[in-house]
């Protein structure tokens, strides 16, 4: 017998190689390329004071829902109802603010409208999750049903109560309500103040141009940080990975697989509601078509960020890179005059396909090519 054991066959890799092999690596490189390309193609306009604010706004929107979608995908399920949930939640909040709380509970405040809507969407998320785990049906088909159901319900409620599928001209609640302010106001004002004091961020009249980022930027950071922490550092994270990888072996080892899945369906509903709340309190409008196709953007970003379609593997950091990439490209048309806006979808298609191949390679390397 030689002294060589089975363990010796695993080569110790350098830190650099480990970084390159991480699921986020591909997303990071794509992001660098896109940031560079857009910076020069837009003649730096994409990253002037206003450009940065607008880009961060859409990046944060993508980031919030993609984080939820990615967590659920790591646990092995899909949620196609995210987009309709955004429309539903926005409708619910705006209608309460305009027409008062349901069942004659009186005038709505931004706080009560938000809390009541959140309770409803979390309940719907719980219901979707329960149907999926109890029936054993594919989450693809169950959530597809809710995609249609919720969108239709949103339009029906709008027409019945409001006679129109849009609400605009709500009063601006941000002045008097701290809830509206933390959801729809501005954050990180110090960043733009500093920029102004350093001699930038000046409009044509020579005053400070932009005051702060949209509040959703902060919410994205909070949600992404919590998701990253839970996934990589906690018992719940280990359960999420185990559930998505092989739910039978997870169950055999005492992981409450069903609870994990249901709570993640509730988490995607939570993310969709935060998306809608930030939108409603920022613009003081709502529209039945809000959030259309967002579920597919969220899944695409999750995949580009290194999440496996089959579950069990993924990274919140990669999803953040993916959100930056998609947000910048979606907004690029505003900064690059000759660019046709539909190139966004061309880009999404190509990057998505490339990402799926890259992820598949990672999976095969880990599982030994099955």
């Amino acid at each position: 017998m030689s002294d060589r054991s089975e363990a010796d066959r695993l080569t110790q890799e350098s830190t650099l190689m480990r970084l390159v092999r991480r699921p986020e690596a591909g997303a990071f490189i794509v992001m660098l390329v896109v940031v560079t390309a857009i910076t020069f193609a837009s003649d730096f306009k994409a990253f002037n004071a206003l450009g940065l604010k607008n880009n961060i706004a859409i990046i944060s929107q993508f980031g919030i829902i993609a984080t939820g979608a990615a967590m659920l995908m790591i646990a092995g399920e899909f949620d196609l109802s995210i987009g309709s949930m955004i429309g539903f939640a926005g409708m619910s909040m705006a209608m309460m603010l305009k027409w008062g709380l349901p069942f004659g509970m009186g005038e709505a405040t931004p706080l009560t409208a938000f809390i009541l809507t959140m309770c409803m969407t979390l309940f719907i998320g719980w219901m979707i999750g329960t149907i999926v785990v109890r029936s054993g049906l594919s989450s693809f088909i169950v959530t597809l049903a809710f995609l249609f159901f919720l969108r239709g319900l949103t339009e029906v409620c709008f027409r019945l109560i409001n006679q129109s599928t849009q609400i605009s001209g709500l009063p601006d609640f941000k002045e008097e309500s701290w809830v509206a302010w933390i959801l729809g106001g501005e954050v990180f004002g110090w960043f733009y103040d500093l920029w102004f004091q350093l001699g930038g961020n000046i409009n044509r009249r020579g005053e400070q141009w932009v005051d702060g980022f949209d509040a959703r930027f902060l919410w994205w950071i909070v949600i992404a940080f919590c998701a990253w922490f839970v996934l990589s550092r906690t018992q719940m994270g280990n359960w999420i990975y185990a559930t998505g990888d092989n739910k039978d072996s997870a169950r055999a080892n005492g992981v409450p697989v069903n609870k994990v899945k249901i709570s993640l369906f509730m988490f995607t509903a939570f993310c969709a509601t935060m998306f809608a709340a930030c939108q409603v309190y920022d613009t003081n409008t709502a529209d039945a078509a809000k959030g259309n196709l967002m579920e597919l953007n969220a899944i695409a970003i999750a995949v580009v960020g290194g999440t496996l379609m089959t579950g069990g593997f993924g990274s919140v950091i990669g999803v953040a890179f993916g959100a930056v990439t998609f947000g910048l490209v979606a907004n690029a048309v505003f900064y690059i005059p000759w660019l046709d806006g539909s190139f966004y979808r061309v880009f999404v298609g190509l990057v998505l396909l490339a990402a799926v191949f890259a992820n598949e390679r990672i999976r095969k390397r880990i599982t030994g090519g099955i």
Partner: protein
């Protein structure tokens, strides 16, 4: 001999009209390897699933250290010290060795955080105890060999308090060298002296290399049992084939 840790008395299991187990008796002693042998469909799987709490017996009784027990769920069985290592091993390929080792039973700090450094160390030490030195507990299980995965599943069962270790065909689907690694692991566990092993196999050579005691099943019944010294090689082969005479089988084969 001491008292058996686990005793199975007259266990009957019916699935509707189908008699899967027809009055099986079994005694398992600590520090011994008990080989459970039988053809496909003999009732081996039903028996171990009954011991593991997956199935409840239709009649009959299980005893742990002489006290009657009823397992209503796999949790009950594992709390009573019965650790089952299934054929598919219940490991998750994409997850690291440590994360697999503690799956469902993680060591928690404040806020449900994982005590990762401590878990890495325990996983490494426990694997080392039964003979595999792991350089990297963050390695994904998918990159491990079949024998190493088996060791991981066995080490995990022992660490979480298994007094009876049920190994469901641990050597099938493995290469020659890895089969020997698993048999070595079985012997190391046996040497500890406090753990009883139920070793299910199709391979009479493997069973003879490690077993102290045999039970043969055929068509849901025990057709033979005995200690390692009491059974001859030919007798073992005959019982493994479900009681048919090997000579008869050879004759039948030759006649075709």
């Amino acid at each position: 001999m001491t008292e058996p840790y686990l005793r199975v008395e007259n266990v009957v299991k019916k699935f509707g009209p189908f008699m899967a187990l027809n009055g099986v008796n079994l005694e398992v002693y600590p520090g011994e390897v008990h080989a459970l042998l039988g053809d496909n469909g003999a009732g081996k799987s039903t028996l171990i699933k009954t011991l593991a709490g997956v199935h409840q017996p239709t009649s009959g009784q299980l005893y742990i250290e002489g006290k009657p027990v009823n397992f209503r769920s796999p949790r009950d069985a594992s709390d009573a010290g019965i650790g089952t290592v299934y054929q598919d091993l219940a490991v998750n390929q994409l997850m690291s060795v440590t994360r697999n080792f503690f799956m469902g039973r993680e060591l928690k700090g404040p806020l449900g955080t994982l005590r990762m450094a401590e878990m890495d160390k325990i996983a490494h030490d426990e694997m080392l105890k039964i003979g595999i030195d792991f350089s990297d507990p963050t390695q994904a299980v998918g990159t491990m060999s079949g024998g190493q995965r088996q060791t991981l599943a066995i080490a995990r069962a022992i660490y979480f308090g298994a007094k009876v270790l049920i190994l469901d065909e641990p050597t099938s689907a493995l290469g020659q060298k890895q089969q020997m690694e698993v048999l070595k692991t079985i012997k190391r566990v046996r040497k500890r002296g406090d753990i009883a092993i139920i070793f299910i196999t199709h391979n009479e050579i493997h069973s003879q290399l490690v077993a102290d005691r045999y039970t043969f099943l055929a068509l849901g019944q025990v057709i033979g049992a005995g200690k390692a010294g009491e059974l001859s090689h030919d007798e073992i082969r005959r019982l493994m084939a479900g009681g048919a005479e090997m000579k008869d089988l050879e004759g039948e084969l030759a006649a075709i």
